[in-house]
Amino acid sequence: MAAVLESLLRGEVSVAAAVRWVARSTRSSEDSSAEAAALNSLRPLRKEFVPFLLNFLREQSSRVLPQGPPTPAKTPGASAALPARPGAPVRGGRGARSQLFPTAEPLSTAVEGALARRGGRRRGPGPSRERGGRGLGGPEEGASGESLPWAGARRPRGSGSPGSPRLCDPPNLSNLEEFPPVGTVPPGPARTKPSRRINPTPVSEERSLSKPKTCFTSPPISCVPSYQPSTLDTSPWGLGLPQGCRSLQEEREMLRKERSKQLQQAPTPACPVPESGSSIPSRTGSLTAEPADPARVSFRQRLELVALIYSSCIAENLVPNLFLELYFVIQLLTVRRMVATKDSDFESSQGALDSLETPLFQSIHDCVFFAVQVLEHQFQVLSYLDKGTLKLLAENERLLCFSPALQGRLRVAFEGSVAKVSLMIPPSAQAVSFQPETDNRANFSSDRAFHTFKKQRDVFYEVLREWEDHHEEPSWDFEKGLGNRIRAMMSQLSAACSHSHFVRLFQKQLLQMCQSPGGAGGMVLGEAPDVLNMLGADKLGRLRQLQERLVAPQSSGGPCPPPTFPGCQGFFRDFILSASSFQFNQHLMDSLSLKIRELNSLALPQHEPGDEDGESDVDWQGERRQFAVVLLSLRLLAKFLGFVAFLPYRGPEPPPTRELQDSILALRSQVPPVLDVRTLLQQGLWARRAVLTVPWLVEFLSFADHIVPLLDYYRSVFALLLHLYRSLILSQENEGEMCFLNKLLLLAVLGWLFQIPTVPEDLFFLEEGPVDAFEVDIPASERGLDSVPVVDQQLLYTCCPYIGELRKLLASWVSGSSGRSGGFVRKITPTTTTSLGAQPPKTSQGLQAQLAQAFFHNQPPSLRRTVEFVAERIGSNCVKHVKATLVADLVRQAEVLLQEQLVTRGQEVGDPAQLLEVLCSQLCPHGSQALTQGREFCQRKSPTAVEALLPEETPAAVLSSAENIAVGLATEKACSWLSANITALIRREVKAAMSRMLRSQGPEPAARVERRGCSRACEHHAPLPSHLISEIKDVLSLAVGPRDPEEGVSPEHLEQLLSQLGQSLQCRQFLCPTAEQHLAKCSVELASLLVADQIPILGPPTQHRLERGQARRLLHMLLSLWKEDFQGPVPLQVLLSPRNVGLLADTRPREWDLMLFLLRELVEKDLMGRLEIEACFGSLREAQWPGDFSEELATLFRLFLAEPHLPEPQLRACELVRPNRGTVLAQS
């Protein structure tokens, strides 16, 4: 490999030829014969070149940046195809480690020896597990890996090693755990598993507890390494190891111990330190940057050449991750200090410039020069970064100093950029609303299922709220806090078979809460506004910026973070894990798959943004937003689908032996994929919708277990993706090609995927993959979504927050170097969440449908959307209209028929089911009218709606066609539903009406009596019934005692009370049936007490009794209330119950005249019949009374019964003598 590079450096081979050679294996006619010869001899090394180059650069920079290679590279070991050992059992012998050393070539025997030594040392059990996890939050090798391999957020994290004796530990040292320098080969089929880590670094025991679990992140460059650079071997190839690394075997042992310790501690929850805590280079502090001077660059030409090769490889997508390389380059740009090296050493090697034996970067000047060179080549990509990053780049003084031209271009790009990116989104979490159409009783198989689900919904949100309240508390643990409740709820669901309902709720809530980046950024319900409201609106903006800065960095962990579940997503992940319900998972997978298919095939805009008028631009904005919403939803759903689907297979490490792996492979290849992603990907590529399909597919695959990429099915998926990645050459911008930002998005997500630990490292460099097996014929002429600029920076950064690491790197440079506190101001663009639009209906086949399609083809997409929308809504409304008119009429008829039945047959209506059959057989035939009515409705309503929604300048012909299509679609929708369902609908409604009526036949029919309302003029000022009951109750309690001597009521008060009662009964606005019933009862009691003269009257002690006349007046009032105002039944017979009549027994002297008066009035006012009263007398006679009282009672009966039924005048006359009689009676 070095030979290639060297021949390049010597100028024997042109860069272009080399890149062509690397990229395309075949000779190009452009290559000169000499070049071809030079390269041909190295042919077997071809695919080793790029990994070699990347490792070379890392290694070189590691010599410059004292803490070692800052940016990881995932490149395969060079050993896989070493010509020196063809067919040799490469496994175990050579590892990733060797790739760091160009002398891996057979030429260098000295190195060979060194390698052999090292390789031997490193051979050991289970090397593959050591090849590195993703670190922080990584799905696989977490401390809690055994039980809950995904418990990312809960893992203990010690970042930044605050307790460390050293000022600042280079995190990459601690990262040894994550990126151990393994010379390992996994037990894969003859492939090497190179390490992602490149440089071994020693670990010391005292720091073992504070390992920042960063992964693929940059260490703080400013930090002084723990091992002094002076200890480095200064030989050009760094063959010597730092002294600290002498005993790597010992380190291994330490690591292993450490790891097992952590595994044992696994379940302990730990403080959720922000993931990025360790990943942000801490460049503040006292270290100032060394100045960089273009005049002091050591080997300008050589650096230029390497930069060119490197840039060309980047441009040709030969590197696995574009942004990782950019990150590396910017690290070089912002190098703060150079490890002191003896200049003399370098001077001695001045002669061998064309050899690789001279260090590439000898000074900061070299680093910066190289970085600026590469950045110049990558200007195009840079210019598409967000405005903030552009500003930081343009403001970078080193860049200005080394390339004023690039700085100028960047400045121009910055000024022209509108790509403000905000990662903050106002929290939007809300509960999923209850929709009767899907959620009411009719959607459940039984009452029990319905009520169970009702409870589940509440439990679910209760759990969610509790999570929100507590998940940030260090001592809180999801499983401990909520696990049992979730499982209890799940078991109830299983019993009630309501999983599908719950899964729908779960999925909707997931989309609602997590779809926005805000949801992913840890913002949850109502947390932010609390603070914001307190500060007032003017400070809101500033605070939000601050909040954004605080929140945004947490959203990613380094340039290549592991797949995680940030923010609210953590809740859903933990919920799934805690529920551990097979049924739930299965339903969830079904539901997620369906939704993914649905969204993936959603018709999305395919037109360019209009540049003529603002109107279409408005449309365009909406379409772009819709795309973003769909894409983000898909990614979220796919992530969870991947998570759940691969959950049973997740393990912390790949199978230890080849045999085991083979048997697992044999087993797994039987399992059909949960979702046919390969077909979807092929279709996506074919339809040129990769920009929609690939990002979610990447999310899905990022959760694959170790075996998945080895399965034939998924291998072909990966091969397709790789093929796609290679083809996305950014510099090619042909007509019909994919748009730049679309490409950038795909490159970013794919690059990220290729860094996932479970994805085999060599996959990327496997050049002759089985791609050819899949003919991906992309019709070049067809324009698809890919060629529409649907991706903007906001979406790019939302999908790939790790791109923001570039900005952080630059920002930390600013804050460190010039003392300015953040040299950039971010503008905040509040983004609102939009809900998914209504699904366009599937149109029918046939010529008409084709014509309709053709009609829309040349019309603006908004026209089509409008028509489809109108059709969908009108069709739906049509059904409702039929329900409200025709069906409602039929139900009324049913009620009449039923009423007749009830009247004729009395209470014995017979079997309700039979009755229903009778009713339905009469009514259902009328259902056929539904179609006529439906058609008529659609014809009437659709055109006006279309007209109202389309712009006025729509040509008449277009308008009328659109209207006709809308009518047709709406009618089709409505009629197809109606013809299938109308009978069932009528039946259901009639059944409901019938059960309503039968129920109302039940108890207390009185309460259902048609009530008179108050008069129209009534202003509802009557006293409230509750108040009256309360007042009357007080009077009653006073009357029955016990009471204080001074207590009593005035006759006026009683009168007032009764007149108020009259008002209340007349107004009725606030009167409910129960209140009226109780008022009636109380009034009867009051009457009895009046008759028995038991109401204590306020006044002088001698006059504690009510005057006769007053009592009569009050009784009159009561009688009139009973007669006129009460609408419910008044229990007047209680007046003649033994208890109430018995009240008279206690009074001395007994006075019966009021009783007689009352009885007469009751009869006269037709409130009670004589017979009724006589019946009461009968029961009174049977009661036990004191002897004298019985006699008096008998006299009363006789008197009353003796009275003839006289017409009114005579009765009045009779009344005149009554007092006397009463007195006589009382005295007798």
Binding site: Q430, N440, K454, S1037, P1042, D1044, Q1077, R1139
Partner: protein, 281 residues
């Protein structure tokens, strides 16, 4: 009417072991003249109910019931007209209506062939003239009309108050031209949880979005509020989003802590309602 926790505690402190009679209420009003009568009654009632819930069990042991019944029999044996049952209830610190129920049940058990059903007892309590024993009927009636926290009359008053405030709220909504679905309409549509009113178009009150309004004609103390939150308000939120609860007789200020989450408390109908503007431009 919105009380701080401290103010509330001061009132609650005065209610320990106070019998639920009109005399007690009168004293309470004198003690806290600045508070509205309805609020005081509501607090009293709730505090008393908490007390009864705590002590309920000890009054229902067979021994206790037997002892009460014997005391009752002795009492009425001496003087049937004396408030025997009421005084017994006050003496053992139990609600008169509930004491009446215990004795009635015991009495029917003794005199009937089968154990009395709940509905028979309820019906007799509602209408004591149905009680076969005249003395007991009077004693029971006396308990019921003198109990201001329990009993059929109190239940009815509470029900009526709740109904009246719903009507009041409905009127206010109509007056403000806010269209809504009421509980009956919601039930007819098959909603599983039904607040008093769901606004068809949400409004904003004090900057908070309101989808539904629940009327509570009581004082919102901790205990009842938490029960309501769990059984009703959160369920409404879970289905319809944020909403408003009106505690017509006030509430403890500190309980209004879920505003941001979507449950707003008020002690009256809000005055500053912001509605969605339909731009005519």
């Amino acid at each position: 009417m919105i009380l701080t926790k401290a103010q509330y505690d001061e009132i609650a402190q005065c209610l320990v072991s106070v019998p639920p009679t009109r005399q007690s209420l009168r004293k309470l009003k004198q003690r806290f003249p600045s508070q509205s009568q309805a609020t005081l009654l509501s607090i009293f009632s709730q505090e008393y109910q908490k007390h009864i819930k705590r002590t309920h069990a000890k009054h229902h042991t067979p021994e206790a019931i037997e002892s009460y019944y014997q005391r009752y029999l002795n009492g009425v044996g001496k003087n049937g007209a004396a408030p025997v049952l009421l005084e017994l209830a006050n003496e053992v610190d139990y609600a008169p209506s509930l004491m009446a129920r215990i004795i009635l049940e015991r009495f029917l058990q003794e005199h009937g062939q089968t154990p009395p059903s709940k509905s028979v007892i309820n019906s007799m309590l509602r209408d004591p003239s149905q009680i076969p024993d005249g003395v007991l009927a009077n004693q029971v009636y006396q308990c019921i009309v003198n109990d201001c926290c329990y009993g059929p009359l109190v239940d009815c008053i509470k029900h009526a108050i709740g109904y009246e405030h719903e009507v009041l709220l409905r009127g206010l909504l109509l007056e403000k031209n806010l269209s809504f679905l009421d509980e009956d309409q919601l039930r007819a549509k098959g909603y599983d949880k039904t607040p008093d009113f769901i606004l068809q178009v949400p409004v904003a009150v004090e900057g908070h979005i309101i989808h539904w309004i629940e009327s509570k004609a009581s004082f919102g103390d901790e205990c009842s509020h938490h029960a309501y939150l769990h059984g009703q308000f959160w369920s409404y939120w879970n289905r319809f989003g944020p909403g408003l609860v009106i505690y017509w007789y006030g509430f403890i200020q500190e309980l209004d802590c879920h505003r941001e989450r979507g449950i707003l408390l008020k002690a009256c109908f809000p005055t500053d309602i912001v509605t969605l503007c339909h731009s005519t431009a």
